[in-house]
């Protein structure tokens, strides 16, 4: 079943929570809402579910106008960030509750609950009560309840955020597999760009109640429509540098650099350059043009196989995500190389002018 | 109902109070008011201001009865004026 939002706006007492959202999500697709806390992700999902009614605009589900249909009469389900289960019901009864309300036959309930529980690996816990479970098990119970009834629309509101890192990693893969074989429309809210990428599907970028950009996740990541989108989607966030092109030079801070060939076409004036941290290099590039900037090391965060290097150039904060381990002292002076081929160029207003070429075949599984 | 010992003045008093409540409800429904801060030391809604006004009026009448020999209708007039001022600027 497809979902369409048409000029959906939510205002409560003069305060705008969602501003003219227009969105078309296809049947059977997996969609990620990505944005900071308070960007309006939860609100948008509540509008989709029918828990709230928009102050303006329409919500269409499968071609039917559902704006004023109460949530009970829509076939949706939702999983919350908090582990929401009925504490007085056993895991079995928790999962069975939507089926019981739908008056499904007893044997059928038994079969479907067991099947769903098995799929999520909680079939041995059916007799227990939610309080006796670990966080991961509680959230699996909540997910099972959402999946058992074959809803047209399943909403996940940051379901993994309160779970352990490793558990998150494995549930993420499970989720992808669960939905790969269903024609349910899934919407998943998260604050983590990496999660949005890992889950695949479509990404919708939200900021302050506005939809900034939507499209296939890889595409949105590699071709953000503006600076806002670029900085929302990326962790650590993309480096942004104010630059001026004048007199055949590119000026960044006090630094004057020769103008790269790729940018010859750009008119003179002010621009903003964006470069993702993993494209920043400490060594000169083997191929292609690069901007070379002197920087001072602020701090080097060393992971197992990678280093996050925080630096400043003329009061501008920069981050590099480097493969391998680089032990660098604070205040050490360095030169970094920013490959022009991987750079985004934005107008001062934020519109995208140039972006790196997409890989020849954008592979999708 | 005779045991309730109704009199015309008290009946009209209650009718006025009831009308005020109904009026305030309609007003709030038609054009919702919000909490705000006026000359009163706390931020109030319209309903709060009405309550404060009525309570103050009751006390004003009692004080007038206890301390002065003024005719009560003067006090009542002052209170009505005060109530309106309170609703508008309180």
């Amino acid at each position: 079943m497809s979902l369409q939002l048409e000029d959906v706006t939510l205002k409560v007492r003069g305060e705008t929570y969602i501003d003219e959202a227009n969105l078309q999500l296809d049947s059977g697709s997996f969609n990620v809402l990505l944005g900071h806390t308070l960007a309006g992700k939860t609100t948008l999902m509540r509008l989709m579910a029918g828990l709230d009614t928009p102050s303006r605009g329409r919500v269409w589900l499968g071609g039917r106008d559902m704006t004023d249909v109460p949530v009970r009469q829509r076939n949706v389900s939702m999983v919350y960030q908090q582990f929401i289960n009925y504490p007085t019901l056993s895991v079995f009864d928790n999962i069975a509750s939507p089926l019981k309300q739908a008056k499904v036959a007893r044997a059928e309930i038994q079969r479907r609950v067991e099947e769903t529980a098995h799929m999520l690996g909680i079939d041995h816990l059916l007799g227990r009560f939610p309080q006796a479970l670990s966080g991961g098990q509680q959230q699996r119970t909540a997910m099972a309840r959402a999946l058992v009834k074959d809803a047209d629309l399943v909403l996940f509101d940051e379901p993994l955020v309160n779970l352990d890192y490793k558990l998150r990693e494995s549930l993420r893969v499970e989720m992808r597999k669960l939905f790969a074989s269903r024609d349910t429309l899934a919407v998943y809210a998260t604050t983590e760009p990496a999660e949005a990428l890992a889950l695949g599907g479509t990404t919708v970028l939200l900021k302050e109640g506005r939809i900034v950009q939507s499209g296939p996740s890889g595409e949105v990541y590699r071709q953000p429509c503006n600076m806002e989108a670029a900085s929302l989607f990326g962790e650590p966030p993309i480096n942004l540098l104010a630059a001026e092109i004048a007199g055949g030079e590119c000026r960044i801070g006090r630094q004057r650099l020769p103008l790269p060939a790729a940018w010859q076409r750009l008119a003179e004036g002010h621009y903003r350059l964006g470069v993702r941290p993993h494209h920043v290099s400490l060594a000169p590039l083997a191929t292609g043009e690069a901007l070379c900037l002197p920087v001072q090391v602020r701090v080097a965060e060393i992971g197992g196989s990678e280093t996050f290097l925080h630096m400043t150039h003329d009061e501008i904060d920069l981050v590099a995500h480097l493969g391998g381990i680089h032990e660098l002292a604070v205040d050490q002076a360095l030169e970094i190389h920013l490959p022009c081929a991987e750079m985004f160029v934005f107008e001062p207003g934020g519109e995208l002018l140039l972006s790196p070429a997409l890989p020849a075949t954008a592979a999708r599984a | 109902m005779s045991w309730m010992a109704w009199t015309l003045p008290t009946a009209s008093f209650f009718v006025i109070i009831a009308l005020m409540l109904v009026g305030m409800s309609i007003w709030q429904t038609v054009s919702p008011g919000h909490q705000r801060k006026g000359f009163l030391p706390i931020s109030t809604t319209r309903g709060d201001r009405l309550f404060i006004g009525l309570l103050a009026a009751a006390y004003a009448h009692l004080l007038a009865l206890a301390l002065t020999g003024w005719p009560l209708w003067i006090v009542t007039l002052v209170c009505v004026a005060g109530l309106i001022a309170l609703l508008k600027w309180g």
């Binding site: 939702m78 929401i84 | 709030q28």
Partner: protein
Amino acid sequence: MHVRKSLVMLLYLVFILVPIYWLINMSLKSNQEILGGLTLWPVAPTLDNYRVIFTEPSWYTSYLNSLTYVSMNMAISLLVALPAAYAFSRYRFLGDKHMFFWLLTNRMAPPAVFLLPFFQLYSAVGLFDTPIAVALAHCLFNVPLAVWILEGFMSGVPKEIDETAYIDGYSFPRFFVFIFIPMIRPGIGVTAFFCFMFSWVELLLARTLTSVDAKPIVAQMTRTVSASGIDWGVLAAAGVVALLPGIAVIYFVRNHVAKGFALGRV
């Protein structure tokens, strides 16, 4: 630190228990011994006082009457307070805060003069001298309290539970009865205790709204005054017996009370 705390608690419990002990002490004495002089424990213990209470119909029926209206009051209070508390904990609506305060103000009416209107009101609707009259009258102060306590407990339940239930297809009444009420059982236990307590010990309204058929224990006790003076022993025994249902109620809800006190912001 802990010693000092326990000492405070112990001293306070002694302060509380001495008068209770004195009551029990008196109930086991004859009137001669009570009035004869100070004895720290019954010198000639007697159960005569209790015998009076358990054999004279006017005594034990008054117990039953009291229990009847107190149970009715608990039931009515909870029944009406549960939905109202839900409304206050989940929604904002026209005049909600004023309504809440108005409910509280109902405890402020000085009972003495309201007795007559009460008497006339319940006579007018034909409820005078029935347990239901007392039960309804006690709602005046118990319902606001019940709403207030329950609202605290309900606010502790995340609203996402409600939404999940609606998403699952529950109607509001089904959700409320089968999901929500079981979740706030401790709160209901605590509320029931407070309703019981205030209704059980109240004297003025209970005495005014009843005469013969529904006479409560508190009114019966005031009749121990006779021409020969107060029958202290029987009065004390009646007081001791009057404590028992309360202790039973606390005992039954003790886990809920302890847990309820732990959960709620009563």
